[in-house]
Amino acid sequence: MTDAPLLSIKGVSKRFGAVTALDDVSLEVARGEFFALLGPSGCGKTTLMRLVAGFEAPDAGRIEIAGEDMSGAPPHRRPVNLMFQSYALFPHLSVFENIAFGLRRQGKDKPAILARVAELLEIVKLTGVEKRRPDQLSGGQKQRVALARALAPGPRLLLLDEPLGALDRQLREETQFQLKEIQRKLQTSFVVVTHDQDEALAMADRIAVMRAGRIEQIGAPAEIYERPATRFVASFIGQMNFLPGRIEDGLFVGAFGRLPAPPTNLPDGAKAALAVRPERVAPTTDDGLDGIVEDVAFRGEIIHIRVRLASGEILRVSRGADQGARASIGDRMRLAIAADAAQLFTDER
């Protein structure tokens, strides 16, 4: 029983009228895991989360929480809590009453509620604001109250809908670490819905990348970054160069010239795109592709360079700021792409 996943989604589909929001989605979240649903807006990640919380019912498939089938269970009977993107703090209740709301529904007695609210305010590092109303709080404070409120009933699974979306940049980074720390301390499973790949990569143990109602890939952040399963994942996560061409005798041939082909089971003559991360494109003095530096952008520890190849294609190259001489616009540059630095994708999938 302990080996059963905490959340198990099996073949779930959901349609709204003519729109297919989810198409045969399956995934599992383990106990104590920090899981992220990542994808562009409209990919179905929010719908999936609402299905788990019980606000929508799936058209097909089933959702199990701790081995228990959730079909037909209304939101108030699920051992799941949700932190809303808008926070959805009750404007007519104080911070204390907001956090105590779920505890009161559980029928906890007064001392227990007092203790639990105090404990949660401690956890989210927010004390002394118990009596305030939500409209008297800053954005960051509201976010913490929402988190405390969702954690208060002690859910087995916490869903977080774009938890950092409403925060400004600096606060977001700080809060990322706090969220992770709280999750580690409580050993509650977290499922974060986000469109921000940096957020997902920084926080999650595992990520499911979604697109148009389907899951494209599930894996650890490094795995998804280094071995994207589909061209969509490759382009959605991080920066990626794509060079069109075809396979010929173990080489990848295109307008740009020829490169050693990465390992592949595509047949000879097959059309494909060669995908390579900017940091894996290396300047060289040996064999390589010739181009001219078109733009140089300085980003602190990293320099981004845009190089136009003789064939007209653009390659993005990034280098550590301390790596060798500075390039400037108009410079000639020769670039090498090692076979093990790149990956091949056929045009679709």
Partner: protein
């Protein structure tokens, strides 16, 4: 600069048109003279005359109690109807429901009054206070619904979802979260249904019986005989009463706009 002068002149003219006749009526009620064109000095004698007008007082009692009761029914029904419209999404029969709900807003009062009367006759109900209350509750319900519906639309549905997520049943979520947030509008809706009932003449004429003559009906039968200071006085009282209710309602809704900003 001239645009501002023009704008203020238009505003002055508009408000003079809207409030001039009412102001004159009010002034006349304090006129000692019976003639509208002669100022016979300030007097409250027409008001003291009212106190001794048994029939007027009885009509006022009937109107006030009918308004209080019918507004209660209208607000309750309106709250449920608004809830269905705002929260149930696209359900079967929605357009019929909404269409007939809002019909009284555009229906001529004579038609609505006649139709209600025919229902009471068909049900063989003796016409009187009860039919009056029911008719007014029917007629004011759509106004209450419009008002509460607007408040519900402003009230973020994710708050109800949050309550459900934290373990509240739908009924508890409504009572603990939604109702407190829309309460000012519900009270406003009650007050406005109350004034509409208090003011109504046409529908009351069709649906009430001999034992339950309303204040507007009493006023009407006197008005047909011409302008009289007594009518001016009772009209002024009625206007003042409604103005009071409107002010209360406006203050309530304003409080909501300020307090509910974060929602």
């Amino acid at each position: 600069m001239s645009a501002r002068v023009l704008r203020n002149a238009t505003l002055a003219l508009g408000f003079a048109f809207l409030y001039g006749p009412i102001a004159i009526l009010t002034a006349m009620s304090f006129n000692a003279s019976r003639l509208v064109t002669v100022w016979g000095g300030f007097s409250t004698k027409w008001y003291s005359a009212l106190v001794h007008d048994e029939r007027m007082l009885q009509a006022a009692t009937i109107s006030l109690s009918a308004a209080a009761l019918s507004a209660l029914i209208a607000t309750f029904n309106g709250l449920l109807a608004a809830l269905a419209l705002a929260r149930f999404g696209a359900f079967r029969g929605r357009s019929l429901f909404a269409g007939s709900l809002y019909a009284p807003l555009v229906l001529p009062e004579v038609v609505f009054g006649l139709g209600l009367l025919l229902v009471f006759v068909a049900l063989d109900v003796e016409r009187g206070f009860v039919t009056l209350v029911l008719a007014h509750a029917a007629f004011t319900m759509c106004f209450a619904t419009v008002m509460i519906h607007a408040a519900l639309k402003d009230c973020d549905p994710t708050l109800e979802e949050a309550a459900a997520d934290l373990g509240a049943t739908p009924l508890r979520a409504f009572i603990l979260v939604t109702l407190p947030l829309i309460a000012p509008s519900v009270v406003s809706a009650y007050l406005l249904a109350f004034t509409l009932s208090l003011d109504d003449f046409v529908i009351a004429s069709f649906t009430t019986g001999p034992g339950a003559t309303t204040l507007p009906m009493r006023i009407y039968s006197q008005v047909r005989l011409g302008v009289s200071p007594e009518v001016n006085a009772i009209s002024t009282l009625l206007l003042g009463f409604v103005a009071l209710i409107l002010t209360a309602s406006a203050l309530l809704t304003r409080g909501r706009a300020k307090g509910g900003g974060a929602g």
